[in-house]
Symmetry: C2
């Protein structure tokens, strides 16, 4: 294994990372000759190496969970949850967060130089692009496992994540049950539903439809399929909110320049302009996203989510995926989440109950929709803090 620093990721940004020269054999049968995982840690690993919490990020997240983002300059995406005195308390726990396999913030993904065939001497390898093999949630977890081992950690005290991060959390518990003392899958499910696949497909088609995508070879030019990726982000963003949240935030409020009476609307502007505030908000969501995300990564990661189905190896019996587990589970859903509705979390809880697992299940009443896991939800933070503290007592981390 070779650890080295190099320039990777969007905008030639350097990210702390580890490179595994032995690569990773993927579920699809293809082996990545080498594997780079970009990651951040917070807090201190205790001498017993028993206080590590792995935070798994969602589709468009990354490793900058509790610090200013290197590229965007914005606060860490989960500073409400992770930090000193926060539910995932970095004064007590050693927190690890890595960019997922297939991502674009330093870990191996479609934008990484392909190393599966010899290149001409002195010529930089071209990126994988759309030749990047299909990765799965399990592949992401197996890459994280290599990182965790590299850090000298045999067993994680906890794995936690929302949305796709919750899928990884469940996959960790199913694939490495001995290595996960506690698991907190939030706003997640054991499989991706037909409706969710359909929304992802709309996003992918929006990217494919952008001529600047160039069949995935946009990296050969100075262009990116920004318009298609922005439309994908806009469609997805609606699914992260709730009708109530959109109504509360925007309702039918019109843009200031459209607050004039209808008959003052200038000829021709009607079909183009931003008429409602919700439109302006969505357009901003789309345009800011494309500056920090790679389109081919978006394709790869949505595919990984679509493919996720923990029960498929067990003839549809989800409980078999967790047979004999000693992991303690805290499953959290949000009442207004229609992307990963409570019923899907309840299904996971029931499957765990059937194998007599140690599981608690909390549905948090909120009108904020799927995105609630990222937002200021005191009930969520109390739930996670309480669960982790209880587990820490059981694990002997606190006396």
């Amino acid at each position: 294994m070779i650890v080295e620093a190099s320039d990777t990721g969007l905008a030639e940004l350097e990210h702390s990372h580890v490179r595994f020269a032995d690569g990773l054999a993927l579920e699809c049968g293809i082996t990545l000759p080498s594997l780079t995982i970009a990651y951040r840690t917070y807090g201190t690993l205790n001498p017993a190496r028993s206080n590590a919490i792995l935070v798994c990020h969602a589709l468009t997240g990354d490793q900058y969970v509790a610090e200013r983002h290197k590229l965007t300059g914005r606060p860490g995406w989960w500073e409400l949850m992770v930090g000193p005195g926060r539910p995932v308390d970095t004064n007590r726990y050693f927190v690890i967060c890595s960019n997922v396999l297939g991502g674009c913030m330093g870990s191996t993904g479609p934008a990484s130089p392909r190393d599966d065939r010899p290149g001409a001497e002195g010529v930089a390898a071209e990126p994988w692009g759309t030749d990047f093999p299909l990765v799965t949630i399990r592949d992401m977890v197996r890459a994280q496992k290599k990182l965790v081992e590299h850090l000298g950690i045999e067993r994680l005290f906890a794995v936690i994540g929302g949305s796709m991060g919750g899928m990884q959390t469940l996959e960790w518990a199913a694939t490495y049950p001995q290595c996960v003392f506690a698991a907190v899958p939030i706003a997640a499910a054991s499989f991706h539903s037909a409706q969710n696949i359909a929304f992802h497909e709309v996003g992918r088609q929006a990217i494919f439809a952008d001529p600047d995508w160039l069949g995935g070879r946009y990296w050969e030019t100075d262009r990116t399929p920004a318009r298609g990726l922005a439309v994908a982000r806009m469609a997805a963003h609606i699914t992260y909110l709730s009708e109530q949240a959109l109504t509360r935030k925007f309702g039918r409020r019109q843009r200031p320049d459209h607050d004039a009476p209808l008959d003052a609307a200038p000829l021709g502007s009607a079909l183009f302009g931003e008429m409602f505030e919700v439109e302006s908000y969505l357009r901003h969501q789309g345009s800011s996203f494309v500056r920090r995300f790679d389109a081919n990564s978006y394709l790869a990661i949505t595919r990984a989510m679509d493919y996720f189905d923990l029960a498929v190896e067990h003839e549809g019996d989800l409980s078999a995926a967790f047979a004999g587990t000693a992991t303690r589970f805290c499953i959290v859903s949000f009442s207004s989440d229609w992307l990963f509705p409570t019923a899907q979390s309840r299904e996971v809880a029931r499957a765990l109950n059937r194998v007599a697992a140690n599981v608690s299940f909390v549905e948090i009443a909120t009108d904020k929709g799927h995105d609630a896991f990222l937002l200021d939800e005191p009930d969520l933070h109390r739930t996670v803090a309480g669960f982790l503290t209880g587990c820490a007592e059981h694990a002997g981390l606190i006396g």
Copy 2:
């Protein structure tokens, strides 16, 4: 008023129509110098001219409600509801359906030649395109009113429609209460919600993002923004179904060529291909739609829906829009419709109750989502047939 036949619409198709040389003054303050309304009728107008039912179509519908479509060759879009012996019984009623103002199946819309300025002699006028003025649901209804008067009908026995057709139905009852004996708004609402505006905006952005849209001037070329329009249709189509319907129809079933084990997936195909059947279905929905719809019409009509809010003229008091109404209402919603949820129909029913209107409200239990109004829903058809028969007795149409 001049009535003439001419070639209009997609693919130079000829549609039965009436042309009003006196045009139409729109709510936005602009007057269309002339107005063409393409329409179809079924059944026979009785001597008292009292048995007419106006059917209002939805966003992507048209006037071919109960006959093979001239362009697509497919059956009429509401043959389950309208025809001999059907709930809207053409043996008993004279049924009218017109293409909406702003549409693309023969009525005045963005693809119509603009006639608001003198053209060079002998040169065909260019289409309105994105200079087509903002039209509203009320403008659509006022255009229909001209058609109904042209047909010599003073009062409609009934107005019926689903989705945007239900919006028009409500607008008819509010704007011309004396002219509507009975109204059947199905799967509709008195305003377009923030979430629905947001979904429309995604579709519009997908069209804007297509370079073949050419700022709306694609009619100058032989191209159309087909990819953008297809993405818009795909995003919208998801909202017409329900999670249950998608799960029932497709679940996580994979395409035959992807039914092989994961490790047989060929390198590189993963990010592009249709993996799941729901994707193939959506792609088909997108690609077949673009052959029958004009992108600028899609922009115009989605804008009209977004703008719809019956209460806005009454300081938010919806009941004031119906004060003193003598119209009989039958309001229908579907339990799994999340685009126009039951709560929004119930709000209309309550507003009507507050002004002591004659209103019945039916929520039909179905897992088919918003699209249920177009599908084989026996409870829907029984409800409409029963309501219309009862009204026909009250109106003296049957003894």
